[in-house]
Symmetry: C2
Subunit: 618 residues, 2 copies
């Protein structure tokens, strides 16, 4: 199997932090980014020993810049400089250096000269048993496409000279990676992988600040990787991601995220790593677990009941209640917690053991769940936000003690015939920095697909959200990840931001009336919002008045409508929604978030004239 | 004088927060951004009353989109929509609406049709006493330049139709604002001001996320403003800034920053607001004040002495010591503080009262300084980071009791003849979000000019810095603002980041030897760094060895060299530097920051193998 490598430039910290984090995440090797070494008090040989102790191969020394296509008077200095770098490489025990295509102001547009000079430096490298991997930077002064770099390498024709192919430099320019297949595999000395979002900006700042791990952007890494594999490349797959957020994030966590992205990519191109169990079928949520403080359990229970759920079971040994209606199952666990939270997402699967093992192989920590004798022994792992992902069987299985409903003593009340059909979605609010990781985790482990992304200007800053989902009907599993993009300082309220549990209903007006009759306050965003629905021509005045009277928020896309009501935030962090989808609406009501957030904010305020909690009028 | 307005979209919070903050900062009026109103539970008439109570005029209702150049079948719906918006405007009591050039997919490229349809809607607006300001969005579907919008308005020829000129839309496209002079002033219905950094990206995301208040970006707002004024525009100057950071920042603070930018811009174009005293001459630092905890005063004193300063005075009534050498004066105040910090910058000026009044008129809070009878009564204000800006006379003045050296009882020790010439700079480290505000403050109050910007990849994230300065020789005043760009989560150390006080010296090698002899540890970034200086061809091996032995860091630009030594971080947050500038070097050693930061980080670590303080190996 291909070796997995990580460039030290990807991670935050001192070089020793980066190396330890890469090793802990299971990488086989690293690219040493020279500035990381320059800031280390350890000599290159000591760094080599440190890597060896950690089980890391040093796969690449990088970058070497401005080598080729230079006037002779400049080229002499290049040779002097490279001799010193080659000596460092020998001490590091690394045999390959990355040579970036020149950005030197005096570099000339002359591929023949480039080939001759690269041949010269390759020969000097070969004298020391070293080799050079030539890479076309997307912003190279003259050489800025991979095919041109390959033509120069072919013309230079030296065994110590090959190409380095970096997915960013190739895909950011819209180049077709397919012809990479025709390059002899042994002339591809190195492959660097990076994804990126589509951004309307120059390639240089795009590359330096916005690269992502594979699967977290919009590049077709699968096509790129397949082409390189078809060419016969046998070196490591190495991640080189320049990203402002990752540059300052916990390197241990970032390294796990990075390696997970490689494991997922390999599987996607049909070469899963040995030991990665394939994904068993997943059939929608088994239940959603909400953790509540005992003091707020009544508030949450009242709201669940008002929206149509019945308390149907009490856990045999724990202060945990099961609420049900239609296919919706909500487990409310009472424990001393600072706020309510979505503590767990349980999914139904044909093979809980395989799903949990898969998650663990994708670097999710296992979380053994304490249980009394005779109670279900559920498989669980920690998602990146620390919540549990529980792997539940669809039905009792012979010889297995993990069918969780048996843990609940039925509560003998008649179940109401109501409007709740199931769970529409769970909306989680990780810090924005963690959204890419969290998204990739759920995609890789559960097979969720990205279904849309939104950005809205909310009262306390931009909010971006993405909807992930799989399955349909009772098997539908949807997760919304929603976060403030820049959240800093002491002004903005709601840190951490509220999560929500959205119930799918077949008549939101009826649900609204029942909830109000039960004394549960639904969010009212005020009349101006409904006037605007009329001004848009979405509804007439009578309908607007009826929606407003029912506190129903309305969103629309070209496929249908999304009508929903929202409770106040319960117990500090979770609110409930009842959602009626009409037609083929594909979103999650993101457009309504600003008005909903403003109303939630106002509800937290203690009295008139005191809306500015946390402000600092000077 | 022109009225000052602010668009509510600039600020964070609920509408009531935004209005209160704008009024508190002294704005005369606001633009009501419609989504802010839609999220309010107050009806338009109530919002109007709130504004009136706050003394704010509602200068503009915005935005109205997709009005013109539409096929007739679409235009009918526009009229219906606008009638509803006009009704809202009547309730708000605002007479002007912003009409953005169409981005509608069915808008046609037909200026005659646009003029006819705009005439139609202007006539309907006029029926209600309203008027429309037509603005060319830089990304309008067909109309995307200001001169084209003006030609259409001129052709439509209706008294209720004029243009809105937005500096971003004009300057982002590189359009020359000078011909704006030729537009009749009464046809310019509204002017919006925004600055922006030069960014290599599409105008739409550039506008939506990266606008800045005037003076904080790189647009020539002065030329734009002068052209509009020359045209005879008599309406408000209004700020419309879409900025991800400001969208989530304390609105009271942001509004002050915004209004300061307008005051500075007006002064720059020769029309200072009444009551803004002009800037008296400033002659470099009088002293830098460092606050230290009594427990760390010895550590700081030892380092100052080792670098060549002498304790020359003790304050008559406070635990404050004056240190001097050459033109460098450092005041060390002992008080119980969690860390050391640069607590104040005192500047020498011909007119301390005028400078302090100027700062106050630029919305800096005055900070009366307690002093005993017979002690100097210094004028001081708070800079945005909370530190003091003290306004000191250059010499004793008759009838004035503010010559601060008289507060110190001389310490009778012989002053050493050393190498310290003065204060090279003070490096402050505000959170990145505050750098624009802090920079504008020092430029506006003190007349500092931006002398350069740098971005370096440091071990714990990107660090951006800018150098501000004025004067030369003993009058030179330099402030470096240096910050991590993205600083979130618990991984990165050093929050708040260390500040530094850099002394100008004439022989850094001699200073290094003296400091080491005095037992003060200077930062050693390790041998790899010096090997690289040789590989670059900057120095030969002997020189590199000598620099390393002396712990001297070396930076270079095309004008000269910067040789400096750095102490460990003293008392938690401040380190000292001794700086020798050679030739005309113009920076502040930014390139050395990553190695210096890594060394400072390692020095904080308690022992070998424990470099990963704060990490979370899982």
């Amino acid at each position: 199997m291909p070796r997995h490598a990580l460039a030290t430039v990807c991670l935050s910290g001192l070089l020793e932090d980066k190396l330890a984090a890469a090793a802990a995440a299971g990488f086989d090797g690293v690219e040493i980014f020279e500035p990381d070494m320059l800031g280390s008090p350890e000599r290159p040989a000591e760094i080599a020993a440190r890597c060896a102790d950690l089980g890391l191969a040093i796969e690449l020394f990088q970058p070497v810049r401005d080598v080729e296509a230079l006037p002779p008077e400049d080229f002499a200095a290049v040779l002097t400089r490279l001799d010193r770098k080659f000596a460092v490489m020998e001490q590091l025990g690394v045999d390959t250096a990355l040579v970036c295509s020149s950005v030197h102001p005096r570099a000339v547009d002359d591929d023949d000269l480039a080939a001759v000079q690269l041949h010269t430096v390759a020969a000097r490298a070969a004298d020391r048993g070293l080799r050079l991997a030539y890479e076309a930077l997307a912003w190279g002064r003259h050489v800025d496409t991979w095919d041109r770099s390959w033509r120069i390498v072919a013309a230079a024709d030296h065994p110590a000279l090959g190409v380095c192919l970096d997915s960013f430099h190739i895909l950011s320019r819209g180049s077709d990676p397919a012809p990479v297949r025709d390059v002899p595999g042994e002339k591809i000395f190195f492959v660097q992988l990076a994804d990126a979002p589509e951004l309307a900006m120059d390639v240089l700042p795009w590359s330096r600040h916005h690269r992502l791990f594979p699967g977290q952007g919009s590049f077709d890494l699968e096509a790129f990787t397949a082409a390189v594999a078809d060419a016969g490349y046998a070196g490591p797959w190495s991640l080189e991601v320049f990203n402002d957020v990752v540059r300052q994030a916990d390197p241990w966590r970032a390294a796990r995220d990075a390696r997970r992205s490689l494991l997922a990519l390999e599987e996607a191109v049909g070469s899963p790593a040995p030991g990665l169990p394939s994904r068993p079928p997943v059939h929608g949520p088994a239940f959603v677990e909400i953790a509540v403080d005992p003091d707020t359990a009544d508030e949450v229970g009242t709201a669940l009941h008002a929206l149509g759920l019945d308390a149907t079971g009490r856990h045999r040994t724990k202060p945990v209640t099961l609420w049900e209606a239609g296919d919706a199952r909500v487990v409310v666990s009472e424990e001393p917690v600072p706020t309510t939270s979505v503590a767990g997402l349980a999914v139904r699967t044909d093979d809980p053991e395989a799903l949990a093992s898969r998650a663990a192989a994708l670097l999710a920590p296992r979380r053994p769940l304490p249980h009394a004798a005779g109670e279900a022994d559920l498989r669980a792992v920690a998602a990146p936000d620390g919540s549990l992902l529980l792997c539940c069987p669809r039905r009792p299985r012979p010889g297995r003690a993990d069918f969780w409903p048996g843990d609940f003593v039925p509560i003998d009340v008649p179940r109401r015939a109501g409007h709740v059909e199931g769970i529409d979605h769970v909306a989680l609010t990780p810090p924005w920095d963690d959204v890419g990781e969290t998204s990739l985790f759920h995609r890789a482990v559960l097979g969720l697909e990205p279904l849309g992304e939104w950005e809205v200007a909310a009262p306390f800053g931009l909010v971006r959200s993405r909807l992930l989902g799989a399955g349909a009907g009772a098997d539908a599993l949807r997760i919304v990840l929603s976060s403030s993009v820049v959240r800093r300082g002491g002004w903005a309220p709601g840190v951490p931001a509220p999560q929500s549990l959205a119930l799918a209903v077949d008549d939101v007006l009826a649900v609204s009336r029942a909830a109000t009759a039960a004394g549960v306050r639904l969010v009212d965003v005020g009349p101006n919002h409904y006037d605007d629905l009329v001004a848009r021509g979405w509804v007439d005045e009578d309908t607007a008045a009826d929606l407003h009277a029912h506190r129903v928020l309305l969103d629309r896309d070209e496929h249908g409508e999304y009508r929903h009501v929202v409770t106040e935030v319960l117990g500090g962090r979770v609110f409930l929604e009842a959602v009626q989808r009409v037609g083929g609406y594909r979103g999650h009501g993101a457009a309504d978030a600003p008005a909903r957030m403003a109303a939630h904010r106002r509800a937290r305020v203690t009295g008139p004239g005191d809306h500015s909690v946390g402000s600092t009028p000077a």
